[in-house]
């Protein structure tokens, strides 16, 4: 008979240390990106929470060969001007899994669960036997604190090592440094540069300095001094909860009646809703019972009744917006654009969760992208670039479902459109449904895909004004050429077949020139209208953003000022 095995429980740190591939450490190249991403996202969140304009500095150097085969030893250092962390918080943030100030709060922050940076510390610990080196200074501290934090994997606790007090020439801020086994990939969709440029695009208030390997320092200055205000979380909506959450939620309220708890603890529940609940068969006596005394059965009854009544959709106030102006300014930081379109939709409800979708489309003047390649689609969830698993993402699906041909772009069937364009899609929501813990893909629910699709359509319509102008110009040029090239061939051929005299040829040529000239005049008129529309669009964008994109070069025509 087999020996009975004892059941043991493992700490969450133990779980994650064995499954780091689930949180972004599935390869050495991804390890470098994830480390950078988690640290920068934390810095941005901290600055925004404290109402500070973020200034982040990144240095990445190769310090030798990695301990594992085919890897390098990489030092990644991120420095911010955030509020800093108290020493007792440092161990929790860097050394403990699921210790977060943001967990389940329903706010649009980048980090949510408190896994990312602890996983980075674990990776550093596993590959270089050294955790996170941190320097922190809060406004209250006279001197900065320098220490090393490691994860006690067995007990999911942070361990503070070699703590020392040092002088630091700044009021507040935090620096973290990791030495990890990794490989550096700069270019491509999954490259470090794509992450950094994507982050600057959706964070117009960020000043970022970076030096990667042997390259020179690069500084991307902020384009707005407005710190995005992160809206407060709203109370939970009963239709977005499960029974277990519903019961657990009641424990926060102590001794209150069910009726009072429902009104106080949830959004969209009013006296009217309570009346509806009674009409649906819930007894008044139950509503008057205290939450701490009712049975599970009764919780179930209240919960089921709530699911059956019609409630207003959840509030969209908790959603943060980058805004069209900021996006328009920010997109100029990618490079010099010859035209662009930005759309920021109103917040809406998808799958009972508030969501806001924003889109920016631009065409770069100095583009090294192929004319017939697919557009570059940049995806952002809560202002964090998503760089992997593109095909399954809601944003990709939405972009593929739009008929871009009607806006003047080429597009193979059910695919992304073609051309040297950058299409940036940002989805912001306090509850983004990611497909995995490493937040690489947003789940493609029908409602979300439709909302993104609508935003893309609006942006496409704005973009089409510029494209139409170009195609009308090309059309007119082609028509003018056609008149010159084909008119004599056509008339001469017809004259030879009918054996017509020379003077008839002249008359016919004259008539044909008039006819085709009329067509060309019509094309000219259409071009004029298209130019007006495109210029209006540029002016509107300029009024909004103060930025005038480089106008398209029109040969042999003096530049017009203003409208017309």
């Amino acid at each position: 008979m087999a020996k009975t095995q004892s059941i043991t429980s493992a700490s969450s740190a133990e779980y994650f240390s064995k499954n780091l591939q689930q949180v972004g450490f599935s390869s050495y190249t991804k390890a470098a990106l994830t480390t950078l991403k988690e640290a920068v996202d934390n810095s941005l969140d901290a600055c925004e929470e404290a109402g500070l304009l973020p200034e982040i500095s990144v240095t990445i150097e190769k310090i030798g060969e990695g301990t594992a085969k085919n890897s390098d030893s990489i030092k990644i250092r991120i420095e911010d001007n955030g509020p800093g962390l108290e020493v007792e918080d440092i161990v929790k943030v860097f050394g403990e899994y699921l210790a977060s100030s943001k967990f389940g709060r329903g706010r649009c922050s980048r980090g949510q669960q408190g896994i990312g940076i602890s996983a980075v510390t674990t990776w550093a610990q596993l590959t270089s036997a050294r955790g996170a080196s941190v320097i922190t200074k809060t406004e209250k501290m006279r001197k900065a604190c320098q220490c090393v934090v490691e994860v006690d994997i067995k007990h999911n606790k942070g361990v503070l090592k070699s703590k020392e007090v040092i002088d630091w020439d700044r009021d507040h801020g935090l620096t973290c440094e990791f030495i990890i086994d990794a490989r550096i990939q700069l270019q491509g969709e999954g490259g470090l540069l794509a992450y950094l440029s994507g982050t600057t695009l959706v964070n117009p208030h960020l000043t970022l300095r970076y030096k990667i390997l042997e390259q020179d320092w690069v500084e991307v200055a902020r384009v707005t001094d407005t710190i995005p205000e992160i809206p407060e979380a709203t109370d939970p909506h009963p239709h977005t909860m499960k029974l277990g959450e519903f019961i657990a939620h009641s424990h926060l309220f102590g001794r209150v009646t069910i009726g009072a708890w429902l009104k106080k603890g949830f959004s969209r529940i009013s006296d009217g809703v309570l009346t509806d609940l009674k009409k649906a068969g819930l007894k008044q006596s139950l509503l008057d019972t205290s939450v701490d005394t009712i049975t599970e059965e009764n919780f179930k009854n209240v919960f089921s009744a709530l699911q059956k009544v019609n409630l207003m959709a959840p509030s969209t106030k908790s959603v943060l917006s980058i805004g069209e102006t900021a996006m328009a300014k920010s997109i100029q930081r990618i490079g010099q654009v010859d035209f662009f379109a930005v759309v920021s939709r109103k917040p809406t409800i998808c799958d009972f969760k508030p969501v806001l979708v924003e889109v920016a489309i631009a065409r770069l003047i100095d583009r090294d992208m192929p004319e017939d390649g697919a557009v570059t689609l940049l995806r952002f969830a809560n202002r964090v670039p998503l760089q992997f698993d593109k095909s399954a993402c809601a944003m990709t699906k939405a972009a593929e479902s739009v008929n871009w041909r009607s806006y003047g772009l080429n597009q193979p069937k059910d695919s992304l459109p073609l051309g040297p364009y950058i299409v940036a899609v940002s989805v912001v929501s306090p509850f983004i449904k990611f497909k995995n813990a490493s937040k690489e893909t947003v789940d493609a629910s029908d409602e979300l895909v439709e909302e993104i699709r609508r935003t893309l359509i609006q942006a496409g319509q704005r973009l089409s004004k510029h494209i139409r102008r170009e195609s009308k110009e090309a059309d007119l040029e082609k028509k003018r050429q056609h008149i010159e090239m084909f008119a004599p061939i056509l008339v001469d051929g017809a004259c030879r077949i009918t054996r017509s005299p020379k003077n008839r040829r002249e008359r016919a040529l004259e008539g044909l020139a008039k006819l085709l000239g009329r067509d060309a005049a019509l094309a000219e008129k259409e071009l004029k209208v298209a130019i007006e529309h495109a210029e209006e669009a540029v002016m509107k964008m300029e009024q909004m953003t103060g930025i005038l994109p480089e106008p398209p070069v029109v040969e042999e025509k003096p530049k017009k000022k203003g409208k017309g």
Binding site: K479, H482, I483, M485, F486, A487, P488, I489, L490, V491, G493, A494, C495, R496, I497, T498, S500, R504, R507, A508, L509, E510, G511, L512, K514, L515, L516, D519, A520, A523
Partner: protein
């Protein structure tokens, strides 16, 4: 009898109209009959598909000026051919155009990038003139219609006006190959001919001839080789009209044969609406394989493979045909549409060669069955 189209006169008329309009700075518009199913009617009195009133118009404007210029250029090449009685294929016309353009830089804007472009211009000319490519002396390779008979005489008028007489009984084992343009042929029967048998499979037609079918019976036997070409269609029509003999089609029992082969032979097609009068033989009967033959002769048949793209498309087309095709909708063709309905309902198919299974040791069995079916009027 097939009628000739005077391409030269039509070309001159067209160019006259074009120049007249241009002289008055008026926009020339060329109209052609729309050759599509939505402009297709079945006239039971004549027995073939006829065009409705719908027209497609090509207007000369800055977008179509290139196409029109290319068409006029191609017409000149064609007229030159017609003048000297020369013929060409579409591919040859493509290279002739390339050669002309190479030697005349003024024509460079007309240059064709590939043969598809020049083919489209030849088709466009046919549409405008409402004629067949053969009328433009632009021939495709003659396909199908290889004919055997001991009684048939063919009198051919050559392009130079000389005449030739072909006695099919003097050709040995060689068949007579009708041309894609049967207008120049006249027929005569040396003795009374009982019927004309059109066999879908060229191979089976050869087998029947080799086993002595045409020696034992005073008939005309021809192989259709799948979807009937213009040659097969015009030739069958000629036999039907000039010799006044009953014509029977012997082919597979499947949706494709009924719609694409038999219907085209009997009533023409939507794509050739304007010329169906000359290229359809409305008196042709469907001899088999009939659905009842399967049981009567115990023929091996097969289930239609619905996962096969070609077969499932044929079934879908059959469903559409019963609803939309005026030929199958007309009560005059109820027998044929009943077969199509049977095919859709039973999803079975049976090949013409299945008759060889009836008595595998008697090579004359299929011949006997064909004769028996005709005698018993066992056809549709």
């Amino acid at each position: 009898m097939a009628t000739d189209v005077n391409v030269k006169q039509l070309s001159v008329d067209m160019c006259e109209r074009l120049l007249r309009d241009l002289e008055k700075a008026r926009r020339p518009v060329f109209q052609a009959t729309k050759c599509a199913l939505d402009n297709c009617f079945y006239n039971p009195k004549v027995g073939y598909l006829t065009p409705g009133d719908k027209k497609v118009a090509t207007e000369l404007n800055v977008s179509s000026v290139q196409k029109m210029s290319r068409a006029i250029f191609m017409i000149e090449l064609i007229l030159r051919n017609l003048d000297v009685g020369a013929t060409n294929t579409k591919r040859e016309l493509y290279y002739i155009s390339k050669g002309e353009i190479k030697h005349n830089p003024a024509l460079r804007p007309l240059d064709f990038d590939d043969q598809d472009e020049s083919d489209a211009i030849v088709d466009f000319i046919c549409e405008m003139m409402e004629c067949y490519r053969e009328d433009l002396n632009c021939f495709a390779n003659d396909r199908g219609g290889q004919t055997y008979s001991q009684q048939l005489m063919v009198m051919e008028t050559m392009p130079d006006g000389t005449k030739a007489t072909i006695d099919l009984s003097k050709l040995g084992t060689a068949p007579f190959q009708p041309k894609n343009r049967p207008q120049s042929l006249k027929l005569k029967a040396k003795k009374k001919i009982d019927f004309c048998l059109i066999v879908e499979s060229e191979g089976t037609a050869n087998t029947l001839v080799n086993s002595g079918f045409t020696k034992r019976h005073p008939v005309i036997l021809l192989g259709a080789q799948g979807v009937p070409s213009n040659a097969v269609r015009g030739w069958t029509k000629l036999i039907q009209d000039e010799l006044d003999v009953p014509c029977y089609f012997f082919g597979d029992l499947d949706a494709y044969t009924m719609q694409n082969i038999f219907r085209t032979l009997k009533a023409g097609s939507a794509a050739s609406l304007i010329r169906n009068a000359d290229f359809s033989a409305p008196e042709v009967k469907f001899l088999g394989v009939l659905p009842e033959d399967i049981k009567k002769y115990d023929l091996p048949d097969y289930a239609v493979r619905e996962n096969d793209a070609v077969e499932s498309r044929a079934l879908k087309k059959a469903r559409d045909a019963l609803q939309n095709d005026p030929f199958f909708k007309d009560k005059k063709n109820k027998g044929v549409s009943d077969i199509l309905r049977w095919l859709l309902q039973h999803k079975r198919r049976c090949e013409q060669q299945a008759f060889f299974s009836v008595n595998p040791r008697d090579p004359l069995m299929p011949e006997k069955i064909i004769i028996e079916k005709i005698k018993n009027k066992n056809f549709v």
